[in-house]
Every structure is written in C-alpha cells, then in structure tokens.
C-alpha cells in the first residue's frame, strides 16, 4: 500500500458504492456514480474480485442479475443466522421449483398457463413465490379474456441462483436427453393404443 493518498483509488470508490446497495449495481450505474472511465472501472473490479474472493474474505463480490453485489460468504452464514436470530429461509418446495422453471423457460406466462403445463392448480405456489419476490407480474396477456397477468422471474431470482442474466441458464433441451423424450413418446404410444373406450381416466 502506498503512503498517504488523498484521492481515493478507483477500487475504493467502487467498493464504497457497493457497500450502500443491497441489490446488484450495473456497470453503467457504477461508472456514473464514481465518475470512472470504463477502463478504470474494469481495473477496479479486477482488484475487488481478488480482494473479495471467497477463499480470502468473509465478504464476497458477486456478479449477478446484470450487476455487482457485495454479500456475505456462505461459509459464514451460520454466524449471520445466529446474529440475526433468524432461521435460514425454508428451501423452496418441488412445486415452487417447477413454477420458477416455467416462468424462466416458458415465460412470461399466465397463471393459467403454468397450471396447464404442470397439470395442477398452481395459484398458491405462485402466490408464495410472488411473496418471496422470486416471481413478478410483468404485464398482461391482452389477447386472453380478462387480460390475465403475465408472470416472469425477478432480479432477486437471478441473484438467488447466482445467475448474471436469464441467458446464464442451460438451454432446456440440453437438460432432457433425446432418449428420454423418445421413451415418453413410446410409452404413450403403447398406452393409448390399448382399449378404445377407456378414454376417461385422465387425471
């Protein structure tokens, strides 16, 4: 560290601004607050990545939801929970993961569309996800009767999954193998060809 400096270094300006935000700050907002050039900002972020590396610090620099965010190192979370006397939020249910997957990969889509894809009414799950700020109404489907709201994932969702953007998820087709899909079709083909008048046992 060089001696007495009066003018703060770029990394100092950036870390100070990051301290006062609980949500990710994008590069352009960081630049306009700090007055740094693009190059200086890049340099500052490189310094800070090292300073707030998960191996070396209890505070980590995360690049999520299109911006930069300081947060506690997960290795320290038991201490945080003791300090706040708060239990870690309960993990989401399987149904909640499915609803989020619908919104992420098929969204924005209406409540009805989510329920149709999943085959069960999903309103309660959707409601609790909105409550947790992971889903949000992003508009309305004006072509449908009653213009139902369209649901999409939030920046909090991106931050919670450690994603910098929606593109940061694997394409859905890479998650399911062709063999699996073929098996579904096969099984289906064999089951529907059997009794011609059994048709009502859908559920």
């Amino acid at each position: 560290m060089s001696g007495q400096e009066r003018v703060p270094r770029p990394a100092h300006l950036v870390e100070a601004v990051l301290l006062v935000s609980a949500s990710p700050i994008g590069a352009s907002d960081l630049r306009s607050a700090t007055g740094l050039s693009e190059q200086d900002l890049v340099g500052a972020l490189t310094d800070l990545r090292e300073r707030y590396d998960p191996e070396a610090s209890g505070i980590v620099l995360r690049e999520v939801a299109g911006g930069y965010l300081l947060s506690t190192n997960p290795s320290c979370s038991p201490a945080i929970e003791r300090f706040r006397q708060e239990a870690r939020p309960a993990p989401l249910s399987g149904a909640a993961h499915e609803v989020l997957a619908c919104a992420l990969y098929l969204g924005p889509l209406t409540r009805g569309a989510v329920s149709r894809v999943r085959g069960v009414n999903s309103d309660a799950v959707i409601r609790s996800l909105i409550e947790r700020n992971l889903l949000v109404e992003v508009g309305a489907d004006h072509d449908a009767p009653g213009s139902p709201a369209l649901l999409g994932v939030t920046d909090e969702f991106l931050a919670a999954t450690g994603a910098s953007s929606r593109k940061d998820f694997p394409p859905v087709d890479s998650l399911v193998t062709q063999e699996e899909l073929a098996r579904v079709r096969e099984r289906l083909a064999s089951s529907v060809t059997t009794p011609p008048d059994a048709g009502s046992e859908s559920s």
Binding site: T72, G94, L100
Partner: protein, 241 residues
C-alpha cells in the same frame, strides 16, 4: 388460511418424510405458510409414522389422538381441495376434452422439460444459499418513488376478494375421538364387510375424516383389513381373518 390451533400434546411428535423431517407442528406451519406443498406430503406415511410413535398407555394418549386426527383431517381436506379442479376464472382454461395422442405427448414432453429444469434450479439455488446482503443501504431520495394509484386499487381488489379458505373452523370443534369411532367401526364390521361409503354415509365431513384415521389405525394393529380393488375405487372394511 385458518386452522384450529393444535393442542401442545403433539409437541414432541417428529416426522421423517422425504420432503421434510422435524417436528410435526412445524410441518403444519410450513404447509399453512405455503412453504411446503400439501400434495408433496404423503399423508399415508404421516399417519403411519404417527401410529408407530403412538403410546396407547400414555396419560395424554386420548388428547394426542384427538389432536392428530383433527389436524390430519384438516390436511386431508386441504389436500383434496388442492387436487380438485380450480374454479377461479383464470384457471378455468384447464380443459377436460380428451387430448389426441400427439397433444398428450407434446404436453408430457413439455412437462418433462419443466421437471428437469426444476431440478437444475433446485441445485442452483442450493449452491447459492447463504449470501446475505449489506445492511448499510442508503434511503433513496425523497419523492423519487412513483406508485400507480391504479395498482393500489387493483391490489385492494385482490386482497379483499381473496378467499382465505379452506376454513376448517366451520367444521366445529372435534366432538368425536378416534377411540369412539374405532368402537363404531368394530361394531359395524362385526357382521361382515362394509364399505367405507356406507359406514360414513350419515357422518359429517369431520367424522368421516376421523373415521378414516380410525380405520387406518385399526388396520395397522390388525383389527381389520382394508381393501381397495382399484385406485380411487371403493374402500371396503372387513373383519380381520
């Protein structure tokens, strides 16, 4: 959502399920807070683990059975409500018309993708848990927030017209115990097999649910045999052979 408050008699009853392990009371709380999906909770396993943990000779055995039957009945109601078709306008689109095999395949394929994506998300969320953000935030400048009055009105309409059911309260306090119903059931099957439908035809919904719990309990200890020829088909209670 409302629930008759549980007596504390079950405070030491813990359950081990795939979706949850811990105190039973907390399980109820999680379900009521929508943090756990009721249809993910295997009620049969729940009843079985209660029966395993049951101490018929304990001083508060009766109270425990009553509390358990009461809450289990409420869970059954909740579950059936969740699984039954939605009635609100938004989801009325879930059609009943039979699908062509192609459409069915299309839907299942789509659901399979959602399922896999959900598993991926689960892992990702788990890997990123435990990041707490700074508390050193600064308040935004006064007057920089705009709120749409229409959204406030819409929110009022939503909040005030929402049905916070399923109300369990209207079922009234529990007026029957597992033991009493067990007695009724044993008397009824003394003359031979009887269907659950006819056994409970004169009962109200709560008694029906408790009768179900009682029948399970009796089946568990070998006092009767429960048979169901096909899924969702009629349930028959027979004297144990």
């Amino acid at each position: 959502m409302t629930f008759e408050p549980l007596g504390r008699s079950l405070s030491d009853f813990t359950v081990e399920l795939d979706v949850y392990s811990g105190p039973y009371e907390w399980l109820l709380a999680l379900i009521l807070k929508d943090e756990l999906e009721i249809f993910e909770v295997p009620l049969r396993e729940l009843v079985e683990s209660y029966l395993l943990a049951r101490h018929p000779d304990a001083a508060n055995a009766l109270e425990r059975d009553t509390d358990f039957a009461g809450s289990a009945a409420a869970l059954i109601l909740l579950k059936s409500r969740t699984l039954s078709p939605a009635i609100d306008a938004d989801t009325e689109g879930i059609e009943d018309e039979p699908l062509s095999p192609e459409e069915l395949a299309e839907r299942l394929t789509e659901y399979l993708k959602v399922r896999r994506a959900a598993e991926h998300l689960k892992d990702r969320l788990a890997q990123n848990v435990g990041h707490y953000v700074s508390a050193h935030t600064i308040a935004p400048r006064q007057g920089s927030l705009g709120i749409e009055p229409d959204r406030v009105s819409l929110a009022a309409r939503q909040a005030f017209s929402r049905l916070i059911e399923p109300p369990v309260r209207h079922l009234g306090p529990i007026t029957v115990t597992l033991q009493e119903l067990a007695g009724i059931i044993l008397t009824a099957i003394a003359g031979g097999a009887i269907s659950y439908e006819s056994l409970t035809s004169d009962m109200d919904r709560l008694n029906r649910a408790v009768a179900f719990a009682a029948a399970l309990s009796l089946a568990q200890d070998g006092s009767l045999t429960l048979t169901q020829a096909e899924p969702l088909g009629p349930l028959t209670l027979e004297p144990a052979r």
